[in-house]
């Protein structure tokens, strides 16, 4: 007679077979992100329902439930992670497309970007320290205003924690998407170019997408700000951190 193993044993051997496949973790990552996109669409494109945050939460739950260490997941998800570099380089395409806007209001845009970048980086470093945070958190906070892949690379260079920076970058984008309109109205900002530039500088991609939904000019300047802010922050983050005593 054929001996049927207990169902728990079947489940365990099935899990080991699946997780040994190199496609398992890239597939799980894709599925989690897809679920995040669907959830966001169902919730009426609400800024708070960010697909990346939803995917991170789902995968964190899966890793915890299966007792998988992060290092094993990250090694398995390398095919997805490796594309982050070329995607960062690809940001040059929308940046160059937005350059004609820059030519028309060059000095205002550059001045606004530089002041906004200093406020974001120095403000983050000094506020974290003032409220008793560790240098590691402060340096993870410093580059959070720029688009996530650049922010993570800068955090690595500065001595911060890239995963923490990624979450902070997304959270700041959500914060800007929710607060930009009332806050800027309170400050009597009537210029849509200033509105978009500010949203893109403070909140990067998440906020830029939101700005585009509100006003075409604001969206264009937000896109320009995201690209240029990556460059300005890359150049200024390390000197600002040194000036602030980190």
């Amino acid at each position: 007679m054929l001996a049927i193993p207990p169902s728990a044993e079947i489940a365990t051997s099935l899990w080991h077979a699946l997780v040994a496949c190199p496609l398992f973790w890239p597939g799980a990552t894709l599925a989690a992100y897809g679920a995040g996109l669907t959830a966001q669409r169902r919730l009426g494109n609400m800024a708070l329902a960010n697909p990346v945050l939803i995917a991170i939460l789902l995968l964190a739950g899966l890793l915890r439930a299966t007792g998988t260490p992060y290092s094993a997941y990250f090694a398995g998800a390398q095919p997805v992670h490796l594309l982050l570099g070329p995607a960062t380089v690809a940001l040059a395409v929308p940046l160059v497309a937005a350059l004609p806007l820059l030519r028309r209001s060059l000095s205002g845009v550059v001045l606004g970007l530089v002041v906004g970048t200093i406020a974001s980086v120095a403000g983050g470093l000094l506020l974290v320290r003032a409220f008793g945070g560790t240098p590691s958190l402060a340096l993870s906070m410093a580059p959070k205003g720029v688009t996530t892949p650049i922010a993570m690379a800068l955090a690595q260079n500065l001595g911060g924690l890239p995963p923490v920076t990624a979450s902070l970058a997304i959270a700041s984008g959500i914060l800007v998407a929710i607060t930009a309109t009332p806050v800027l109205r309170l400050c009597r900002i009537s210029d849509w170019r200033a509105h978009g530039l500010a949203a893109g500088t403070a909140g990067s991609g998440v906020a830029a997408a939101h700005a585009l939904g509100r006003h075409e000019i604001a969206g264009a300047f937000a896109g320009l700000a995201v690209g240029l802010n990556g460059l300005v922050t890359a150049l200024l983050a390390a000197p600002i951190a040194r000036l602030c005593g980190f």
Partner: protein, 128 residues
């Protein structure tokens, strides 16, 4: 599209090489972005190699690409717990500060009397 992807990789490797040789404090892929932007601004015809399709595809789902690194947050959950106050204060304070400062500077700059700006440019052109 294949050539477009190759161009992205080449720009990233050039950025990494430049960073290593010149010991720049800027990450290699960011230097690569800058190099590619310079190339595109100088030679717009470069984009005909299918760069726009591959760049569009990567950027449309860029969020997916930082999920693997983002999940690393689970190794730092104690930091979120023990430093919740500096985290929230630093995030909200610096983000709103940056938002307001950028908008005010750009709006003030554009509302400067054109006379002042005209005077500035006139002075500069008279130097030439």
């Amino acid at each position: 599209m294949l050539k477009g992807f190759l161009l992205l990789i080449a720009a990233q490797l050039a950025g990494i090489g430049l960073q290593a040789v010149a010991r720049l404090p800027v990450p290699g892929p960011v230097i690569g972005m800058f190099l590619l932007a310079l190339l595109l601004a100088q030679r717009p015809r470069v984009r005909t190699v299918g760069l726009e399709q591959i760049a569009g595809g990567l950027l449309r789902h860029m969020g997916l690409l930082f999920v693997p690194a983002g999940v690393g947050l689970i190794d730092h959950l104690d930091l979120l717990r023990t430093e919740a106050l500096p985290l929230v204060a630093g995030l909200a304070g610096s983000t709103l500060l940056s938002l307001v400062a950028t908008a005010l500077v750009m709006q003030w700059h554009d509302k400067l009397p054109s006379l002042v700006k005209g005077g500035f440019h006139a002075r500069h052109s008279s130097v030439r």
